[in-house]
Every structure is written in structure tokens, then in C-alpha cells.
Subunit: 99 residues, 2 copies
């Protein structure tokens, strides 16, 4: 499995809009086992996305899907920057769901 933990920086005023775009995009992408969108509990300008894919190839392929391209186009103007980014190899747990 292939995992990513990423912090996205936006503005507090735009955070809910950006969160909604990311949540909408995350349903049922091929090879996506988990995609959780969260607000940072203390930083009003930060969003965390934690992703699990069955392979790096599935993640790369998702970026070319029309619905993901459209979401990226909508999200980009709301993104001020990127914070921490950790690449992982998920092993197991609870909530890994084949779409």
C-alpha cells in the first residue's frame, strides 16, 4: 500500500470551501482505500489529508481522472501553500475500504 499525509495551507475564510471540494472528490476513486480530509485542530488556516492507495500507480492515475482534474482547478486558487508531507507504507488497521 501507498500512503500520504499532507498539510495544505489556505485561509481561515476559505478553509470550509476547500475542505468541501476535497471531500467531494474523494469518493470511490479506483484503488483508493482511505482518503480523510480534516481541519487542523489549532491552526485555522490548515487542512490535513491522509490517503491510502493500493499502489503508487493508482494514486498517479487518479490525478489524471477528469473529476480530479476539475477538482484541482477549483481547489488551486484556494491553496496558499503546502506544509509537512510524509510518505508512508500502510500495513493495516481499520477503515481501509476498497472503492
Amino acid at each position: 500500500m501507498h500512503g500520504l499525509i499532507s498539510k495544505i495551507e489556505t485561509s481561515a475564510a476559505q478553509r470550509d470551501t476547500l475542505v468541501a471540494i476535497l471531500v467531494d472528490t474523494s469518493s470511490a476513486l479506483p484503488g483508493c482505500l482511505s482518503y480523510v480530509v480534516a481541519k487542523d485542530a489549532t491552526d485555522p488556516n490548515a487542512i490535513w489529508v491522509t490517503e491510502v492507495w493500493d499502489s503508487p500507480a493508482s494514486h498517479r492515475a487518479s490525478l489524471a481522472l477528469p473529476e480530479v482534474q476539475q477538482a484541482i482547478a477549483k481547489a488551486r486558487p484556494l491553496i496558499a501553500g503546502f506544509g509537512e508531507r510524509f510518505e508512508t507504507e500502510p500495513v493495516g488497521g481499520h477503515g481501509l475500504v476498497h472503492s
Copy 2:
């Protein structure tokens, strides 16, 4: 919802054992919507745990469950320390499963 992203430090020799303890413990805890255990892709001594709970109270309550107490007792000698820890408010996405 209540989320945690935590880095646990161990030794490369003990990482698989610690990962297995954490994976075993994560199934079907009340109020746990997601609990993913992952190896850091570049640091052989690091594990990431990403958790989503329906509330902070459910998370706190889980720590008192006998099976979690037993897991903590087994895991503690394998833990060298803790790294980054981020508290989040998950909003939605894919893979949030009621246990």
C-alpha cells in the same frame, strides 16, 4: 469527529513487531472510524498512526479497554519515543467506517 496523526519511533529491528501489535488492536474499537498503521517510507525507525474517532470521549474511553491496556503493555518496551503529533477535526472523505 476527532483525529490524530502521530509518529512513533522504534528501531528498524522491532518495527514490524510493533506495527503488528498496533494493527491487531485497531479492529472494532467503539467509536473508532479509522485507524491506519503505516511504516514511514524513508525512515526505517518510524511508524505513523492516523486515527479518526467519533469524539474525543470515545478515544479516551478506548485507552481504558482491557485489550488496549494489554496492547499498550506489549508495545511500550518497543517504543523509543514519539515524533510529530497533530490533532485534527476530520470532516469527511472515504474510509470512515463505524465499528
